[in-house]
Symmetry: C2
Subunit: 157 residues, 2 copies
DNA sequence: ATTTCACTGAACATATTGCCCAGCAGATTC
DNA sequence: GAATCTGCTGGGCAATATGTTCAGTGAAAT
């Protein structure tokens, strides 16, 4: 399973110049077009490539404040809480983590004041015992995958 | 600034079917091709759309374990720590947050055992005082943007 | 009344796509 | 050793999409 060296180069190329076509990729990688097409298909059915959705910047949408909230959930309320959080647009991401009934979610808001409204909406739900929020000030390493892809391709499995 | 209703529909369409072309989009949205092209260009130079990079699943790459680590940084060491963490491929994301010298980072690893290695590498650096890690068990809400886009488009700014 | 702006609808040459095929090399199986 | 698979090559084809330009239209701003 996983990826070989050519897959790695393909992914890195795709990450750097996402809009180039199959033909151009085959030129850059020095392989036949059919090969690139086959690799891409495989990577997608593999699930390695989940999709090519546009990466939208919440800040540019008017939500410049990001925060992470750790939620403590009352036993047995997990399912309800999940469903509740899924209905809040400002919840961009939700994880359940080790340690009691804990969840971690990524929030955005229009301002620090607005964040209060979002948090109230998030925690204003029966089943959430306690919430602690950390507001993001800087993002020195934005979500990235290239270094990991390169490592995985070198391990060459 | 921000986006109007057509931009919103464009983004949602693009998020749902990322590989469709400009022409097909114009057909779906019922507007001229030039309009879609102009909107897309604007959204990209706006920074609303950061890019179209492939969404790669770390699990499919052989890194099925995700964790969030909260790091406490010694005063004045922030820059060094950032640089250090940027060199670790398993650090997918790094944020500095409110509250003392705290950082939050997203990690992946090949296994729970491997996570220990990653954490050792992350915290094995002068300037990191303390680390507390939460391992992700489930991901009920994967990173998403559509609901926020829809809300922003309705607010119609 | 005039200017500006975004959108339309069309045209054109060029490039890319999806699909087909035959051939080839290396590895695996019998 | 011979047969079979699998992945890659390199080519050809019709259909489609792209980049670009243009003139015309309507609405809003000056």
């Amino acid at each position: 399973m996983a990826i070989d060296h050519l897959d790695g180069r393909l992914l890195v190329l795709l990450a750097r110049e996402p809009r180039i076509g199959v033909l151009e990729m085959s030129r850059r990688l020095g392989v036949a077009r059919g090969t690139v097409q086959a690799r891409l298909d495989r990577l997608q059915s593999n699930g390695v490539i989940r999709g090519f959705g546009p990466q939208v910047d919440p800040a540019a949408l008017g939500y410049p404040v990001t925060a992470f909230a750790t939620l403590q959930i009352r036993q047995g309320q997990g399912t309800d809480v999940r469903a509740h959080l899924a209905t809040v647009p400002e919840v961009l991401e939700l994880h359940t983590t080790t340690g009691g009934g804990d969840m971690l979610c990524r929030l955005v808001a229009r301002s620090n004041a607005d964040l209060q409204r979002v948090i109230d909406r998030v925690v204003g739900f029966d089943g959430i015992v306690r919430a602690s929020t950390a507001i993001v000030m800087e993002n020195p390493v934005p979500l990235r995958i290239i270094p990991l892809v390169e490592q995985a391709a070198e391990d060459d499995d």
